[in-house]
Subunit: 412 residues, 2 copies
């Protein structure tokens, strides 16, 4: 392995990781029904085939009018307008208004030609049959959505690389775009290694433990928008791992290997990754706790993460890198924003300077606000994470935080 | 409708809504593979069938020893121990250590009987064949995970009503619980009403618009852990809506109706909901903008939300109530915590006192931190939400916020 590899802070490690990946996604695209596309990433930009709204609409119940006919109207001196008819919902407005005329309209209905504003129903009253008194003036355009006010015809409304949220799905439907081109969801192969590891459904003999990492990591991959591919439990030793990793590299878009946590197991993982393709191992060691013995690599355009075998370390490191990588493989740009909750620490939390500490915490709602109570437990203990609601990150420049300190908690 | 109905603040409206629902979920349960149970809610509490770890394990590579044999050891005066053998990974530790003996162990391996601590490999050196020098003392229990240190046999590890995150799935797998009882995901029927509304795949005639709400709401329901049931577009008028709502009430666990936004359409919705069962309409009007004309009801134990027809109003109100309701239907307790990002407003934002304003914002990453730029657009314009990254809530007690004010942004 090159000499310059050293322990890096996580942000710098991620930067190097992303830099070594191709800018343009190499993943194929597929046609997807827009209605089922929540969380998918657009492969083609979308331009509006027509304006939205496609015709002028009223935003209130009332009377479509020429605004000029209402100027100066008041309860003491109403404007009298003759009612030329009603605009039926879902139909073209057949009426054409002349001066002194009004048309009854319902919210969302089409504005008839000749009208340029709508008087709210509560600002009118019936004078005679087919005549109303307008008690309040309206200005031109008042209570009217103009054609194209939301989107103009031909406007670029969604760019390639956009993650589709509920609102993008709605916007596409409004434009009649009921099918889209989307990047295939990245397949993430998960390899769990170790002679002591057995499948969860089996009864472990003394000295054996059940596989946890395959399932925690699968769930994290699903949550991050990828498709987990469970590649099974790989025995210790270079041959079995090389064979499994080579197969995973051919059939998946990304690989996660949970190396055994022993020094020799980690060395084997790095060796195997190095043989899969160029540029190979980029980072060997990240300055975080837990999770320091992490390997980040790219082989022929595909990211590979070598994780410690401890379930808590593996989970925390995967949580840092999975989402940015899965997004990047689908060409998503823009910063990844992580919302947090503010809380006060219930107790002192010591930390070593020079590394980021990820401390699992329980949150308690109190009258004085949220209190974050550290959940202590070694990184081998998966129930440490079960007992936690969030993580507090202790920055590398500090040697810990005091009880009562305000912290930002990432929900987990 | 009863006289006492009035416009309520959203938190109070939600409280009344939840209070009117049965405490115990009436929804059926089903068996689910734990590996596929991300986001599902446990219907039965889980106790540990055995301790975790099930045997004492070393957390480091090194030598299992009797701690007493290392007391006072130092580089100048090492403790000499004879190596009785190696504990093979995944096998029972067959060795039983006597005084003055050590056994080679690898991280995660079983501690042999007679040993009570592990010396790290780097604190030992080979003396002769089958003999090591220990250069540093260890205390009893050092570098050892004790049997049951994570979870004791019989311990209640997960309570009924727990939402399964990746870590709970891992914890269940560690215990060999590969199948669980889960509440069925609530079916949420979505009824989109209006004579002007046509399906997205059709070509709207003048005066018609495509259905947006069915699809934005479906995506919100999926995101909140429910199963959307698209009940179709219902024409205006009480008969069609009553028929569709009655069918939805029989076959779903919850109903959302997007009423036309006209006053008469809203009245029809309230009338229909009132006929579905007791106690009926609880809240008619919520003091938020947009979204004031919201109806919250419970009919025979099933929640019903009547939303304004405007896509932005419908989306914002659904976002407030859907998640707490879907959780409640599955018996999830505990507060719903909403993480946020801190940002500074780019401009003044006016607001009326006495209501909560939900202002869509775009977020920009600047050297001075995040800046929130309001996205203005009327609540009829779905692309207002497409252009936004988050929502800023202006509290009811203020009359707006100034440019530069720190705000909390909920990502959307």
């Amino acid at each position: 392995m090159p000499e310059f590899l050293k322990v890096l802070p996580p942000a710098e490690a991620l930067r190097r990781f992303l830099e070594a990946l191709p800018r343009e996604p190499s993943i194929e695209t597929e046609r997807v029904s827009t209605a089922e596309a929540l969380g998918r990433v657009l492969a083609d930009s979308v331009a509006a085939p027509h304006p939205l709204p496609p015709f002028p609409r009223t935003t209130v119940d009332g009377y479509a009018v020429r605004a000029a006919d209402t100027f100066g109207a008041s309860p003491s001196l109403p404007a009298y307008l003759s009612v030329a008819g009603e605009v039926v919902m879902g139909r073209r407005a057949e009426i054409a208004l002349n001066r002194g005329q009004a048309a009854l309209v319902h919210t969302g209905g089409m504005i008839p030609s000749g009208a340029d504003a709508v008087v709210m129903a509560e600002d009118c009253q019936q004078a005679r049959q087919h005549e109303i008194e307008v008690l309040k003036p309206v200005s031109v355009g008042q209570n009217v959505l103009q054609t194209g006010e939301d989107v103009k015809a031909g406007e670029l409304v969604l760019e390639r690389g956009t993650i589709l949220r509920s609102q993008e799905i709605g916007g596409l439907m409004a434009l009649g775009v009921v099918e889209i081109g989307a990047f295939r969801q990245p397949r993430v192969a998960i390899l769990s290694t170790g002679d002591e590891v057995v499948p969860p459904e089996s009864e472990p003999a003394p000295g054996q433990i059940r596989d946890v990492n395959t399932y925690t990591l699968s769930a994290l991959v699903s949550g991050a928008g990828g498709v987990p591919v469970r590649a099974g439990i790989i025995p210790d030793g270079i041959d079995a791992l090389l064979e499994a990793a080579t197969r995973a590299h051919q059939t998946s878009d990304m690989i996660i290997v949970t190396a055994g946590s022993s020094v020799s197991a980690r060395d084997v993982t790095a060796d195997v990754i190095q043989r899969l393709g160029r540029p190979g191992v980029l980072v060997h060691g990240v300055s975080i706790k837990p999770g320091k013995p992490t390997i980040l690599a790219v082989a022929s355009g595909k990211p590979i993460i070598g994780l410690p075998g401890n379930p808590v370390s593996a989970w925390i490191v995967a949580g840092l890198f999975l989402t940015p990588l899965i997004r990047r493989l689908q060409g998503v740009t823009g910063p990844l924003l992580t919302p947090t909750l503010r809380a006060r620490l219930s107790t002192n939390v010591p930390s070593e300077a020079g590394r980021e500490d990820y401390v699992p915490v329980r949150l308690e709602v109190t009258p004085a606000g949220l209190v974050a109570e550290p959940v202590y437990g070694r990184s081998n203990l998966i129930f440490t994470l079960v007992r936690a609601d969030g993580l507090v990150v202790i920055p590398p420049a500090t040697t810990g935080l005091d009880a009562g300190a305000e912290v930002e908690v990432r929900l987990i």
